[in-house]
Every structure is written in structure tokens, then in C-alpha cells.
Amino acid sequence: MKKINLAIALGATCAGCDVAILDLNEKILEVFDLVDFKFWPTAMDFKIDDLKNLKDGEVDVGIYHGSIRTTEDAEIAKILRKKSKVVVAFGACANFGGIPSLANMPYEKSMFDVVYKDVPSMDNPEGTVPQTSITIKGTELTLPGIRKDADALDAVIDIDYYVPGCPPMVPLIEQVVEVLKVFASTGQLPPKGTVIADTKTLCEECGRTKPEEISFKDFISPQEVQEIDPDLCLIPQGIICMGPATRAGCDALCTKMNVGCRGCLGPTDKVKDHGLKMISALTSLLDVDVEEDMSEEELHKVVDKIPDPLGTFYRFTYGKSLIYNLHSEEEIK
């Protein structure tokens, strides 16, 4: 059996995706039997030139994790695409833009001003912000540029397969290994565009019971709850859970721990805007006594209890949301 040439490249990432691969434990040995690593700078001594020097198409499977934050991220992604027969977007950042894409919200101030000047913990009297180049003693030093927005991988290259998750959970990575095995032995691959995760939503595997009426009266934070019923669906308990809108495949890691699903596996195939769908579902379930009798302020009071609505509903998928597309299109104009 011929070994598969594998490259794992990364963009704006916390490298949790790399750790997740190592979480395969003894199964990682099967991976080593199966593949030849052509590029994996997090785990081994690779430099970008090692990837550049490969022949086009020499890599059988190229895996990319992280979002496209810097000009360098985009460049690496393009090189990976060129060198790889198949490219896999790995993790929530590469799939949907992930947490870095939350910075795409149009703020009044620039991101650099917020991060390098306004943060209370910052001591920066000269107001220095990162530059792409600086000349010190006659020598020019350069840094990659920051793109205006942090995007999902498919904003810059064509993608063959998607493995969502923050990071992708071991059962999903095991599925990827199985795909690689079949590919190595038969040369067969799943249809392009396949998402390696469940097609249904988390409720399918969560196991909590649903009451007849799933409505709730008030949003509450888990820390406000005296005692969370470990068997009852979290939503009727008032705890925001993205589960109903989020793909299954994680084996309900969070809800098993009494924590509402954070939505890292993204929406189902049918949904374009993850957060919007969840907002529409939750507001339908919110059983405020008689909505039409409530004043605007009273309604606001209920909704204001949602902590950080953008971060709650779009924690991982803002880069793929309709509102982001809308304002980015406007900015282009």
C-alpha cells in the first residue's frame, strides 16, 4: 500500500486543532503507518520553503486549520492548494472563520486601536501599532500584513472536504483517518463538499429529555441556576444552547457537562446563517406572557439578559453569516 502524502498547514489558529490530532492517542500510530508527512510545522521541523519546494499536486491530502487573518495565511493557503490534490478545511476557523472572525464586526475604531491602545492592560504611551516593515540600522525587517477581515478558508481557495469543530473531536478525526485509509488502499474519496460530521443536529445525540412544552420564560446564565436538571433539555431551563441549530458529531460533550452547546460544529447543510436560525428558534420558544401587551422596554429587558449576543449566537460562524456578508459587500462598494 502506497503511503499518502499529507501536509498540515495553518493560518490564524490557537493550534488546538494540532493538539486534537494528537488526542487520537494510540490511533496516531495508524496515521503514521498511513501517511508521509510532507509539512506539519507545529509538530515537526518544517519551514514554508519545504512546502513551496514540493511539486504541484505532490501532496495527496492537504489539511488547513485556522482562519485567514494575515496576508501570509492567505499565501500559505494558496500554496497548499497548489501542492495538494485534495484540501480539507479543518476546525471551526477554517470552516466558518471561527472566533477570529468576530473581529470582522464593523467597529468605529480600528482593530489595532482597540487591541494595542485601548485595552486597559496595555501600556503603550507611544501608541505603537504593528507595521509591515521597519528599518533598524539600515536593515529592513518585514511582517505579514493584516487583512481587513478574518475569513474562512474558502474565501481564498477551493475546498474539497470540511471537518468542523473547535477543535474537531476525536470521533470526527477518527472518521478522517478512515477516509484516508480507504483513499490509500482504493484511491476512492467521498463526494466533493462532504462535511465529515453528522447531518442532523445535536439534539439527536444529546440524550436530554424534551418536555411537551419546550418554551421558557427567561434567559438565565448557568451560574444563576441553583441546580441544573441533568436529564432535562437545557432550553426549557432557560439556558441558551446552540444544540438545536448545530450539527451533531461531538457526542454532546458540552451538554453532558450541563453547559449549553456553543455551536462549534456549525449549522446543518440546510442553513446559511447559524446564529440567525438560533435567534429565530429561541425567540419563538420564549414564552413571554403576552408579547403584544409588553412594552418595548419590557421586551428589551428580557432580551438584554443574553450575554454578548453576537458572541453567543455567532461564536464560530460570524465569518459565514449573512450580516457579515452584507456589511462586507457594502464596504466593497
Partner: protein, 651 residues
């Protein structure tokens, strides 16, 4: 590639006045996949429909857009025309360029551009439509009428006379409702009981009517054609077949309570019959006040009952039956006059409600038809009737006009004058509303011929002044304060939805207006239909009405129910919700949002199921579904997005 035909309607000047139809035709002609386009003065006319049918065949069209008025008006018209031309009727869509465009705009250029976009958007939708087939559901040929007032009685009789079985459910011990409590009816002054009781008797002995009194509907499942209904028939504690109506039990019963039939003006015993003409003619024990439900404490009635008709061990009976159609005739309740603080009801004995005065006027009432005031039994020398008591007062009470109060207050004044010839009757009114056949004449007769005094103005305060009542108010025609003394004050209160109306609306998930009355499917064109197929409404359950209107509605609702009952199967619109099991995670959101109870969780199969016959295709579930697994047939995400993109395209 589709072959789309577009037909643009001028609607006379309605559309053509603000939309440049020629320009629209010119533009749409060049849209992709549009094979044929033409305009017509009136698309809905017979020639207009012929144009559509001919074009479908001549140009071999497989999709049709009719740009005209609202779907609510003519969708059926054009679907039928499409079907007659041999094309599946669900491949025709209407683009609303009248209500949503020409009627609401003035600038012709912009309205024309908007029309073009609306049509383009509809073309995008219709291209994605799939042919659908209406499906058939079986019909149980039996009707349920809820409420045994005059509306329920009339509806039950009409359906039974048409040859269908009817179950009439009434909460009280007898049918008859509020009308049985009235003395005489306006404008003819015929005795209410005398005209109602023949109908009550007819209900009692009609072979097609099963009468369930002292019974309540507890649950309704299912859908048009086969509603599954659970009825709780509460125990009467008197065996109907054995009771001989001898009345021996009543005299020995030691419990004395207020009599509801006489609005609390007389006492009754814990074992009683509501009134002599009650149907069914049977005694009943009121379990809330009777001591003998525990026979160790008291069993006096049982001891004297010769035919042994009393059974303290009688249990509630749960009846489960299936019905094809349901008529809701649950009626009204008068506005509680206790709420009108300034009129002192409860502290001033001689301030009474309209219904109490009805009982005082009635020949079978507490005073045998002699007008005596409650405090001391004297015949009042003057009576003040206050119109709109608690009505048309958005700040404090009901904001609406209850329609019948002007007339019944006028009737009260007239009847008082007939019984106390030299008495003084004064009516305080805001406006006298007499819209009904012979109503104005009736009012004129009272005011001009029989000496009833009408003062335009509101009474601000009633005070006890010795034995008399001090009435303070204002005459708004002369702008003078009015202060006078009277012996009796009758408040003409408005109508509220009854408790039963609220309960049934909850059970059936009927939509109600902000006052709590059942909402009609269309206020003008579908006055007895509700938003739920197969459920009809008659009488005051849908708002204040007089007796003629109530009876007419009851017959209307009966006729509507009969059209369902008359066939073994009925067609249902296939434009309903569909669940994609491939992505559905069974989160139950849709079950909660469905206003028709059409979605349920199938536990053995662990999946969510749409009851096709219950689904009205409203789309609430599709928009709430967090996994995007529910779509409405022919309104898929793809087709809606395509329509929106066409509407919002730039340029």
C-alpha cells in the same frame, strides 16, 4: 428550462392608473425563460381566464404567473383555470401588484419598477414550484355543537334537519342560554321564552341530536373530517329516567343558595331544576353546595324520593367521539358591573344590571313580572337607564360598542312604561345606535309616543340619598349639569367573551381578537369560519350580536358544516410543511410554535411528524426550525432566496 407565461392585469384603472403596464410587458418579455407575456383589462373575467387557458395550450407553457391582485382574492380562480387548461394548478403563482403596489404608491415610475421586480421575483418562485396533488381525507359525518344557547340550538337543529347526527354539549344543566333569561325581545316585544322554548323542545326530541348537558369539552385532537373529542359528562346525581319531576325533593332540601337563572335575585335549593321549561326536564344536584354527596350528613331528598331517582354515587362519564365538523357557540358574559366603581353596584341595592332587570320584568321571574326594586320591594316611580355602562370607555373599561345595549335599554324603558304607566323612564346615552330592521322605529316609538326621556350625556356618579338614588351627570346637548333623584338605576352593560369561549379557544387553539372573542377567518367574507378548517363559530362567541344576527350566523355555520359532512372525503391543499429527517435533530421547537397542533413527536420512531390534514401551511415552523429541516412545499429556502434576490437585485 421552464416555459413561463406571464399575464398582467390592468384591473381597470386600479393597477393601470399607477403602473405603466406597457413598460412592464416590454421589460418582462426579455426575462429568461419567459415564453409568453400579455396584459388584459380584467384577468379574473371569463375572457381573461380564457386568454390564460388558450395561452397555456398554444405556447405549451409549464409555469404561469398572473400579476394582479392578492392571492386571497383570486388564487383559486387562476388555479382552477390552469387546471382546466391541463396544467397542474400548483404551477401557477400570483404576483400581487395591486394591494402591494399600485394601491399604495403614487409615483408611476417607481410603482412600475416595483411591479417589474415583484413579477420577476414571482417568476423565480414559480420556476422552482413542483406539481402537487391535493390529498383526500375521510370525513366522519357527525357534527359537534359546543354551547346550547340560541346559536347552538339553531345550528344543531339545522344540521340535524339536514339528516346528520349532532352532539350538542352544554355546560349548564339546561339548554337555552342567555335568551332563556330574557323577558321580551326588541323590537317586536315578543316573549323570549315563548319563541325559544319550541326550539328547545325540538332539540330535546330530535332523533339526530344527542344532547349532553352539564357536560364540558375537555380536549379536541385531530383535524377537519375527524376531530377526536373528549367530553366530560358530569354527574347530575338524579337518574333522568326515574325522576318524575314531582318536586318533593326541593321542599325538604335544607340548603339555600342564590339562583343563577334569576341572577341571584331569588334563592334556590341544592337540588333544583333551572326553570320549568328546562331541557332536558330534569332535576340536578349542585355538588358544590349539596351536603348529601356525603349521604351520612344529609340524605333528605333521597329519603322522600319515591321513584328512587337520587344516586349520590353517580360518577362523571368520559365520552370520546369523532366529529367531522365543530361549531363553537359558546356565547358571552355581561361586563361585570362591580368593575364600574362610580355606579356603586353592591353598595347601592337599587343599582342593578340589565340582566337583573330582565328577570324582574319576566313573567316567570322573582316578582312575577311586577316591577319591584330589590331594596324594599316598592314599585319605582322613576327609573334611570344608563347606556354604555362600562362600554366605549377605553381609559377604564371596554373600548368597544356592544351593539345591543342601546336597544335593550330602550326596550327596558318601554316595558317599564307599559307596566308603570305614570312612572318616569330616563335614558342617559352617548349616541342611540339603532342599526337593525325596525330598530329606529322602536326607538322613535319609545321616545316620541310613549314618553321615555332621553338625555344625551354620561352619568358620572350614583349616590344613595335616603331611600332614593342621587344621579349626577351632564347633559352634553345643553352643557348643563344634571342632578336628579330616582328609585331604581339599570345599567346597560356591554358583552364580554364568556369563560367557555376562552376555554374552547384554548383547547382548539383558535385565534382570538384582543378582546378575547373568536376571530373570524375573514371579517366580511368568512364571518362564521375560523382559521382552523372544519371549525365554525356562531353568535356572540365571535363578538356582540343581537338575536336575529346570532340565529342567521348559526344557520350559516350549520350550512358550512353540512358542506363538509355531505361527502365521504374532502380535498386538502397540499401546500404544507415537510420535514427533512436527514437533518432534523428532533429538538421539538416546531411542536411548540405550531398554532394548529399539527406537529407531534412520534416516540417509537423517534421523529417529528406533521399531521398533514391539520397543517394549514402557515410556515411558522419553517421559520423557527433551527436546523432548517422544515420547508413549506413550493416555498423552499432555495425558492424564497431566489425570490428575494430578484426583488433586491441592483440596477
Amino acid at each position: 428550462m421552464s416555459r413561463v407565461g406571464v399575464f398582467v392585469c390592468h384591473c381597470g384603472r386600479n393597477i393601470a392608473h399607477t403602473v405603466d403596464i406597457e413598460k412592464v410587458v416590454e421589460k418582462i418579455k426579455d426575462v429568461d425563460e419567459v415564453i409568453h407575456i400579455e396584459s388584459n383589462m380584467y384577468m379574473c373575467s371569463e375572457p381573461g381566464q380564457t386568454v390564460l387557458k388558450d395561452a397555456i395550450n398554444k405556447h405549451n407553457l409549464d409555469r404561469v404567473v398572473v400579476a394582479a391582485c392578492s392571492k386571497d382574492m383570486h388564487e383559486d380562480t387562476f388555479r382552477i383555470a390552469t387546471k382546466e387548461a391541463g396544467l397542474n394548478q400548483y404551477l401557477t403563482e400570483m404576483a400581487n401588484i395591486r394591494e402591494q403596489c399600485s394601491w399604495v404608491h403614487e409615483e408611476k415610475d417607481k410603482a412600475t419598477e416595483k411591479t417589474i421586480r415583484i413579477i420577476e421575483s414571482t417568476i423565480e418562485k414559480v420556476k422552482r414550484n413542483q406539481p402537487l396533488v391535493p390529498y383526500q381525507i375521510p370525513v366522519t359525518q357527525k357534527a359537534l355543537v359546543i354551547g346550547g344557547g340560541v346559536a347552538g340550538i339553531q345550528a344543531a337543529l339545522d344540521i340535524a334537519d339536514a339528516g346528520y347526527e349532532v352532539v350538542l354539549v352544554e355546560k349548564d344543566s339546561t339548554i337555552g342560554g342567555k335568551m332563556a333569561q330574557l323577558a321580551e325581545t326588541f323590537p317586536t316585544l315578543d316573549c323570549s321564552q315563548c319563541i325559544l322554548t319550541p326550539k328547545m323542545v325540538a332539540v330535546g326530541r330530535h332523533p339526530n341530536i344527542s344532547l349532553l348537558t352539564n357536560s364540558e369539552v375537555e380536549n379536541i385532537d385531530g383535524y377537519v373530517g375527524s376531530f377526536k373529542v373528549r367530553i366530560n359528562k358530569k354527574p347530575r346525581y338524579v337518574i333522568e329516567e326515574k325522576c318524575t319531576l314531582c318536586d318533593d325533593c326541593v321542599s325538604v332540601c335544607p340548603v339555600i343558595v342564590h339562583d343563577e337563572y334569576n341572577v341571584g335575585l331569588t334563592p334556590r335549593k341544592a337540588i333544583y331544576i333551572a326553570f320549568p321549561q328546562a331541557v332536558p326536564a330534569n332535576y340536578i344536584i349542585d355538588p358544590n353546595t349539596c351536603l348529601g354527596i356525603d349521604p351520612l350528613i344529609c340524605a333528605k331528598c333521597k329519603e322522600v324520593c319515591e321513584p328512587r331517582a337520587i344516586d349520590f354515587d353517580m360518577q362523571p362519564e368520559i365520552i370520546e367521539e369523532e366529529f367531522g365538523a365543530i361549531i363553537v357557540a359558546t356565547g358571552y358574559t355581561p361586563y361585570p358591573i362591580e368593575s364600574i366603581g362610580e355606579y356603586g353596584y353592591g353598595t347601592i341595592h337599587d343599582v342593578i344590571s340589565g340582566l337583573e332587570f330582565e328577570r324582574i320584568l319576566a313573567a316567570n321571574g322573582p316578582t312575577q313580572g311586577v316591577i319591584r326594586r330589590p331594596s324594599d320591594g316598592k314599585i319605582p316611580e322613576s327609573v334611570v337607564f344608563i347606556h354604555c355602562a362600562g362600554s366605549r370607555d377605553p381609559a377604564k373599561h371596554l373600548e368597544y360598542c356592544s351593539k345591543i345595549c342601546c336597544m335593550y335599554a330602550t326596550k327596558h324603558a318601554l316595558q317599564y312604561k307599559h307596566l308603570v304607566h305614570d312612572g318616569t323612564a330616563i335614558n342617559f346615552y352617548i349616541d342611540v345606535r339603532t342599526a337593525g330592521k325596525d330598530y329606529e322605529e322602536f326607538y322613535k316609538r319609545a321616545a316620541e309616543e310613549e314618553g321615555v326621556i332621553y338625555i344625551r350625556g354620561k352619568v358620572s356618579e350614583l349616590l344613595q340619598d335616603g331611600e332614593r338614588i342621587l344621579v349626577r351627570g351632564v347633559n352634553t346637548l345643553t352643557s348643563e349639569a344634571v342632578e336628579l333623584h330616582t328609585d331604581l338605576v339599570v345599567l346597560a352593560t356591554g358583552l364580554l367573551p364568556s369563560e367557555g369561549t376562552k376555554e374552547i379557544s384554548n383547547i382548539l387553539k383558535l385565534s382570538c381578537d384582543n378582546k378575547g372573542f373568536v376571530k373570524e377567518a375573514h371579517p366580511k367574507l368568512k364571518p362564521v369560519e375560523t382559521a382552523i378548517a372544519g371549525v365554525f363559530v356562531a353568535g356572540t362567541a365571535s363578538g356582540p350580536k343581537d338575536i336575529p344576527e346570532t340565529v342567521a350566523q348559526a344557520s350559516g355555520a350549520a350550512a358550512k358544516a353540512e358542506t363538509i359532512l355531505s361527502s365521504d372525503f374532502m380535498d386538502r391543499d397540499p401546500v404544507i410543511a415537510e420535514i427533512d429527517e436527514n437533518t432534523c435533530g428532533v429538538c421539538h421547537t416546531c411542536i411548540h410554535v405550531c398554532p394548529y397542533g399539527a406537529i407531534y413527536y412520534d416516540e417509537p420512531l423517534n421523529k417529528i411528524v406533521v399531521r398533514e390534514a391539520l397543517c394549514e401551511g402557515c410556515g411558522s415552523c419553517a421559520s423557527a426550525c433551527p436546523s432548517g429541516s422544515i420547508e413549506l412545499r413550493n416555498s423552499t429556502y432555495e425558492s424564497i432566496s431566489a425570490s428575494i434576490k430578484a426583488l433586491l437585485r441592483s440596477g
